[in-house]
Amino acid sequence: MGEMIKPTTSQVIQTGQSGFATTKFNELLAWARKYSLFQYPFVTACCAMEFMSTASPRYDLARFGSEAPRFTPRQADVLWVVGTVSQRQAPILKRVFEQMTEPKWVIAFGTCASSGGFYDNYATLAGIDKVVPVDIYIPGCPPRPEAVLDGLMLLQDKIQRGDKTPGVVKPRHDPAENLVQLRRKTG
């Protein structure tokens, strides 16, 4: 979970000046899919700011071929659930998911979408995976754009491999190590 590996049976064969490549049809299809992810942003809360930041030129979601938003679920491949989803919104989210055409993927953006976060109460859905299946969880409150890009690359990797199991974006480094160093410095 969360590891990126790229096994492939594709190979490039060079014959003199020119050459050709061999691959499996499914791999070619997956390769095409992973670089043309049309997104449906289901944006409900403050994580939206970080989502906008990720989508704008500084972090540039377009590099991964997933910049095109589609505000009808019928044309979308990836459902980005960005922010807290309340119990009242859950039927809407489910309906949007059901309207998307296969193949489809869901990204839970931020802690609230992943688990409900600290909204542990009567009003809030404790994680969208109670209602729709989630492919990638991106923890963070909100997650940094780097983490979002990590999540997107993880999704691309899963699409390439045909892997359907959910993945969680890991932190780039263990935050506990910082704490240890801080204690050593001050202690």
Partner: protein
């Protein structure tokens, strides 16, 4: 400043209507007899010495184990005199029954959504409210979540949660001993046994 308002209120209505007054950090409060709630509000709006032309907030309080159980709090502003006053009414018995109060919508139109929210969260009903429905929660919701006896962990999902082999073994929220340290375990109010 607003002490003057309290004096005006007491002078006009007397101790039988203005049950209690107090002052905390310069914010004056008057506890009003529930039967005269709208009458006092109308007076505060119309009297040339008060001119409370703005209802800044209206909300409920569950005082649990106290009698009357609920308190409706209204924060009034005067944009003309720049003074403010908080008025309260106490209603409802121990079981939350009989929580009924006159609506302030005829006095300040802005009370409409505030009263709907108070109804939504506490189940306090407002008489003569034009449209007393839930405002934040959904119609299917049973009970009133901000009452102290509403179980802290109780949710009422509108769609059934997913089941089946593709669902992860462990879906949040996790067990009672997992998750956040400030969890909801100790938050349930239990009535003291007599």
């Amino acid at each position: 400043m607003a002490q003057k308002l309290l004096d005006i209120l007491i002078e006009r209505f007397g101790d039988s209507v203005v049950l209690e007054t107090h002052n905390h950090c310069g914010d004056e409060t008057a506890v009003i007899d529930a039967a005269h709630w709208r009458e006092v509000a109308t007076f505060l709006r119309d009297d040339p010495r008060c001119k409370m032309n703005m209802l800044a907030d209206l909300c409920g309080v569950d005082r649990f184990d106290a009698e009357p159980r609920f308190e409706v709090v209204a924060h009034l502003n005067s944009l003309h005199f720049a003074h403010r006053l908080r008025i309260k009414a106490r209603i409802g018995d121990e079981d939350g029954e009989g929580a009924l109060l006159d609506s302030l919508v005829p006095v300040w139109a802005g009370a409409n959504w505030f009263e709907r929210e108070t109804y939504d969260m506490f189940g306090i009903k407002f008489e003569a409210h034009p449209d007393l429905r839930r405002i934040l929660l959904y119609e299917e919701f049973e009970g009133y979540p901000l009452r102290k006896d509403y179980p802290a962990a109780k949710t009422q999902p509108l769609v059934p949660y997913r089941e089946g082999p593709d669902v992860l073994d462990k879906l949040p929220p996790f067990g009672a001993d997992e998750g956040m340290v400030f969890g909801r375990k100790h938050l349930d109010y239990v009535k003291e046994e007599d």
